[in-house]
């Protein structure tokens, strides 16, 4: 178990390093100069800027400095904002995005598996059809469209909720729901098929043959096993939520990290792009690790097979 964890941790670090390196190479292979847009500037100013961001040094040295700073948790200065560093922006934006993402995740986790389980239990009956209609809508309608529609109808036309912005909990409802819909639908579909498979397993028959009640069979034996695949896709779900946040924060005008990221791309703020990318990658890699550990705790079979490797 310990050995596996260490190995897994090592893999995560390698992945993170790969992301850092790829990001670095990509950002430094952009044709043209980051300050080209600033219009004509005196040579002295230009040289100053180059020196400030270390762009006058050879790439290998820049890379070494960047890695060293990263290890200290320093993402460097923003190229466009004169007042905030990349770290400042992450500190400002991330809590907002994290709250939104967590709310969406909770919504998806509460309803997705439940809908899927219900659908499987009432296969080809009305609850199945209703769940699967919701799931198909959730999968077919991208979050940016769902967000737009929600704003138009619930906020603009009916006026129940604020159209955009950030501040009160009401502001979080529409965006987190719009973000939650697709992961919820994915989970519902996965749960349905996994539940159908589990319900056909011999051990469900064994459980029934013991004479225990139907709810006990379903909850303790069927759901407990059927939820495993859903947990295994949590990593991907979180990754999708991050991407979803770019879009949702744009539509709803939410001052989160996602919007800063998108903004940094419009502005060609290379240090900010790099910093946020690496930050996102780190978050995601940590999440993947946590999901793996959670999965291991829930599925007793994993420990043995992985240890054996």
């Amino acid at each position: 178990m310990k050995k596996y964890l260490l190995k897994r941790l090592g893999m995560s670090l390698v992945t993170l390093w790969a992301v850092v390196t790829i990001t670095f190479i990509l950002m430094h292979s952009v044709p043209g100069n980051p300050f080209a847009q600033e219009g004509k500037m005196p040579k002295a100013v230009y040289d100053n800027l180059q020196a400030k961001y270390g762009l006058d040094k050879p790439y290998t040295e820049q890379y070494a400095i960047y890695l060293k700073n990263l290890l200290k948790g320093d993402f460097g200065d923003s190229m466009k904002s004169r007042v905030e560093t990349v770290n400042d922006m992450i500190e400002r934006g991330f809590p907002v995005s994290a709250r939104l993402g967590l709310q969406a995740l909770v919504i998806a986790l509460c309803f997705g598996p439940a809908l899927g389980a219900l659908a499987a239990l009432y296969q080809n009956k009305i609850p199945d059809y209703i769940s699967m209609i919701i799931a198909i809508i959730g999968i077919s309608v991208p979050s940016f469209i769902m967000g737009t529609i929600l704003i138009q109808f619930l906020a603009r036309n009916v006026g129940w909720l604020p159209i955009a912005g950030w501040g009160t909990w009401q502001h979080t409802l529409l965006p987190s729901f719009a973000m939650a819909l697709m992961p919820m639908a994915t989970m519902a579909r996965l749960m349905r098929s996994s539940m159908l498979e589990v319900l056909g397993q011999d051990y469900i028959k064994t459980a029934k043959s013991k004479g225990i009640t139907k709810p006990a069979v379903i909850l303790k034996h069927a759901v407990r096993n059927a939820i495993l695949p859903v947990i295994s896709i949590l990593g991907t779900t979180i990754s999708n939520l991050i991407v979803g946040s770019f879009v949702i924060e744009k539509i709803f005008g939410i001052p989160g990290l996602g919007r800063f990221f998108v903004q940094s791309i419009y502005n060609r703020d290379y240090t900010l792009i790099m910093g946020t990318t690496i930050f996102y990658a780190a978050i995601l890699i940590i999440m993947l690790l946590l999901v793996d550990i959670a999965y291991m705790l829930i599925d007793p079979r994993i420990k043995l097979t992985k240890e054996g490797r």
């Binding site: 790969a18 309608v141 469209i145 991407v243 060609r268």
Partner: protein, 314 residues
Amino acid sequence: MKADSQFSKEMFQKATQEDRNAEKIRRPSIKYWPDVWRRLKQNKLAMTGLIIIVLMGIMSVIGIYINGFDYRQQDYSLINIHPNSIHWFGTDDLGRDLFTRTWFGARYSLLIGILAAAIDFLIGVLYGGIAGMATRKVDAIMMRIAEVIYSIPYMLIVILLSVVFSTQGSGTSLFVLILAMSLTGWVPMAILVRGQVLQLKESEYSLASESLGATKGWILLKHIIPNTLGPILVNVTLTIPRAIFAEATLSFLGLGIQPPKASLGSLANEGLAGLPVGNAYQVLIPALFISLIMFAFNVLGDGLRDALDPRLRK
């Protein structure tokens, strides 16, 4: 036992071969692919998806020629016209005909989806096939590499690449978008193919073939790939909407296709401005088509999976 009058002695003669064959009731033996197709046809949802895909495919080819407008042609006297008999889907804020632009966008979206899926398929089958047929050690290394690549956040890389390869103002080219998506997109396919290969490698027909002196490549090509075609097909069908979704998201963020070109995602992005001023159709129409495409490919993929599932075979 008493002899019944209804039975004659004659009936107790040994049955001849003709007697046996006379009325043999056997269901006709069912071949695999025709059977899959038969079951797919019974799945109304999947067939709806297939029909939508075919129609969209046809329209994305001919749609831009139908009502005589050009997708770039601006007409400032006709801006924000709501859908009517001349401009079937209305016009945008530059007076461009949205019917033509929508089909132009659908063409781009479908093209991206299909090309990305094709590249994923090629790399995935090759990589997965090699890993599956290789020695354990090579296989382990290849899978580790794939794992690392896969845990690099997909969209982040796509966005970064589109930043790198797009020159200011002209947006990201089709080629870059597809390249970026394929960079990590092939991994699930490779894992799937590898798993299947490992399983089928041990199967009797592969062993039989190997014992007859067939090379690994031959076995892979002639025996294993054809037998994994089902799951691969399902995977491809589900990769297409994923790529279309990714492109739509990018273009919606303004990072993908740039005007005057259009994809469904960029059209939705452009139309977003029309929403607060009463021109909801500008965003809702492309949104509807994105959703339709996503819906169609997803239900078709699901239907295919069900139709291929041997456990449902009766």
